[in-house]
Symmetry: C2
Subunit: 480 residues, 2 copies
């Protein structure tokens, strides 16, 4: 994986320069790098393996709710993209256009999909006829392309990997329910699998997806106090269905519109993992999404019996279902430790001559660096417990950090002050006017509404900027 040419050097300190620290971790852990195609990434084995674990977990959660996977084309005819007015307005400025096929100029342009609502709607408009054809609850794992100007590894790139779910339903209520259900699936996966806490809720009007009636979002808090929009679920009402003329004959023999949803989760989630859990030694992966849960590191491996015992241990752990590797290279133990830490591998097992003599090993936790002596004949059971403890502890620490960075404000000076001292989310009320939000953004150096808060008592009845009656309470934050 790592070659000798790469010195284990100290990366930039996270608290000194968060942006540089992030870039350093991505590079040194060999997660991804920029390709020769401007703004596009090469997802390297260490990064892609994390994505595979996230995929497997999410996909199982989807299927448990009845989702079926499909694959629709990567190209969208220009005419289709234009059918829903808000949608084309949102996406046309950032799509790539195919104009030639083989040696010929095409009669019609195609864009590379920035998202696939239009293709799903086109297919359904031709195939859905009766209430018996509903609902359709489909998803695809694919890549999409948006011609972004500025890019950052995992957070924003021209092409990125994601899943996009698309559903149609006979009733408004059923579609709304599915929108929330998928938001909940995303919440469970962030909480249980990525050990990432968040705030979540409905987006304000100006932050909605192009063409959506409602957008629900998960907003996670990165270690620098900025919010990352981490997954979204959209309710379209019958807007797309009407634009694409998707009608069905109901039981009462009436022709009716369908109601639609879509929902997406991308490789941005890998960026969230880095920025929520990482530290000055590199990546820290929650065990559930760690491609390698444990690295066995023999100590004084030249001494007789050490490598044999380490190999036997490796085999025992593999047979028990652990994702485990050994580092029996000729590098020094110190180097090996640094590398395992940089890669975020949740545990390492140190095993040397003395350990073997005492019939024990030393397990070192990546998250706390705690050393745990475990009897060799108990390690197969104990390691799973340690990994589960790490998973839980990582969530608790992140949750504590989040709670410490949620505050309230009722006046603009207070809001400005709190964004200076206590980075994170600030609850404040708002009249709903975009101009007021713009002014807040300007005076706080970038804070906007991340999502609306609908189940809590308001901290004020007035807009934080203009003082007129508030329509919403929202989480405000600076975002990626």
């Amino acid at each position: 994986m790592a070659s000798e040419k790469k010195l284990v050097k100290s990366i930039t300190s996270r608290d000194d320069n968060f942006a540089q620290w992030y870039t350093d971790v991505v590079r040194e852990a060999e997660l991804c790098d920029y390709s020769s195609v401007k703004g596009c990434l090469n997802y390297l084995p260490n990064g892609y393996a994390i994505w595979e674990l996230i995929q497997a977990d999410l996909d199982a959660r989807f299927k448990a709710t009845g989702v079926e996977n499909v694959y629709l084309p990567m190209l969208i005819p220009e005419e289709l993209l234009e059918k829903e007015a808000d949608h084309v307005e949102g996406f046309a400025p950032e799509v790539a256009w195919v104009t030639h096929g083989g040696m010929e100029r095409l009669q019609e342009r195609f864009c590379i999909r920035p998202t696939s609502e239009t293709l799903f709607c086109d297919l359904w408009s031709k195939t859905v006829q009766s209430y018996r054809d509903l609902p359709k609850v489909w998803n695809q794992w694919n890549s999409v392309l948006r011609w972004e100007k500025t890019t950052r590894p995992f957070l924003r790139s021209r092409e990125f990997l994601w899943q996009e779910g698309h559903t149609i339903h006979a009733t408004y209520e059923e579609a709304e329910e599915r929108t929330i259900q998928m938001l909940n699936v995303y919440e469970d996966c962030y909480r249980e699998t990525l050990a990432i806490p968040f705030v979540s809720g409905r987006k304000a009007e100006n932050e909605k997806f192009a063409g959506a009636q409602d957008t629900y979002t998960i907003e996670a808090l990165m270690h620098d106090g900025k919010a990352l929009q981490s997954a979204t679920s959209h309710f379209f009402g019958s807007g797309f269905a009407d634009a694409f003329n998707i009608k069905y004959v109901d039981k009462d023999n009436q022709l009716k519109s369908v109601y639609e949803t879509s929902w997406g989760w991308s490789t941005r989630s890998i960026g969230a993992l880095i920025m929520v859990h990482g530290d000055d030694s590199g990546l820290v992966l929650p065990p559930h999404v760690a491609p390698v849960e444990c690295r066995v590191i023999p100590i004084a491996q030249h001494k007789e019996g050490v490598l044999d015992r380490a190999d036997a241990l490796l085999k025992e752990l593999k047979d028990a279902g652990y994702r485990v590797k050994i580092d029996d290279s000729d590098k020094s133990p110190g180097w090996k430790f640094s590398e395992q830490e940089m890669l975020g591998i949740p545990t390492r097992i140190e095993i040397g001559p003395k350990d073997i003599e005492n019939n024990q090993v030393v397990v070192v936790r990546r998250d706390t660096r705690e050393k745990i002596v475990v009897a060799l004949d108990e390690i197969v059971v104990k390691l799973r417990e340690i990994l589960e403890t790490i998973q839980q502890d990582m969530y608790k620490r992140a949750e504590q950090f989040l709670q410490e960075h949620i505050d309230t404000a009722t006046t603009l000076p207070e809001l400005i002050e709190k964004f200076k001292e206590n980075r994170g989310f600030i609850k404040a009320c708002w009249c709903g006017d975009e101009e007021c939000e713009g002014e807040v953004k300007y005076s706080t150096g970038g804070a906007s509404t991340r999502c609306l808060i609908e189940d809590e008592e308001w901290v004020s009845d007035k807009c934080i900027y203009c003082g007129k009656p508030a329509k919403y309470m929202a989480y405000w934050g600076k975002s990626y």
Copy 2:
């Protein structure tokens, strides 16, 4: 899945019109259909679910040999595509070109990848330095695009799903070995998982992949006697490496070229499944790639206790790990049987009042229609045995068909005659001259060399066409 609107109608008979039968099965089993994007497919849930099972099986086989998954961009700068002369000559006529990004005309054109050798080489030319960085054994699951003129579902479409593996090695021998190793992985997967037999071997010069030194192929025989190129593995020598200047410093401090391979398996394999195993009632899926292994069909389900017992059975089977569904719709049993057969579900379990009284069920095999009475308290164990028997029997039948359609010829009239009477593969010798092959193709109505035969005694020492000394013995066949 299926709606009442779709009548279970007889599809075209396989032996009357094979091409129409194929199209009918694809449509009626709802595997895929043409999208609004000319020549591109919508992979529908029933078809995509087969692909997911193939993916899972192949991916596990890959990983067991040390393959790591990655993802590289879908766009290739024109300049990169042009670096290897044979490669660009082969692919330039059939790529789609992106010329505009957002509102701007681009300074350089990008093609949508038809295959990704150039991107992998570009990345490695920048990152590989020492023998310690080798080998790289990478793979990606993605889609590629080739601007084909004529298309057929699964067999040939502009965009298709596949995996493309790319590897580089320090030595010629190691790369050659990997080429064969991956051919063997494909062979195992076709044989064990898809229950499809084949002939395999090296391609003749004119049938090689653009830029390859050697191409190895798996050629499966469809029920109409035509060959389907079903997966390929390529050895590049150092051709690409030299064009892209991928050099490494060896242990002896010398700067050396790397040696490269690539290998691919596509959704064409779903076409092979249909055309090898299908019959006049529709699809017949080998259990290992059947998204649903068994459909439970209650008989006289309005009678008291039937649905309850069927549901309980469903649960037992699910809990035991079967991929199983129930059809408790209000359609007639006959309709349900036809539908289960059309979808190729390997078994159905019929359970009615009498069965329950006798504490039994009737398992019906899709492949033979054999009815097997099984005691209810043994079904959880017996069903697995029945499914495994089906898997083995399907392979044996296909293998017998293949062997019955392999013959030899030593003269052109004999070859012509045998292609008339005994469709399939004919072993014949050849001088290696492309003109001779062209004449054979013309006079047989389309037969060409599918692969060379290197471990058998030759049937003649003369070229089947010109009579000059033979250089090769090959399998000749008409191909898709």
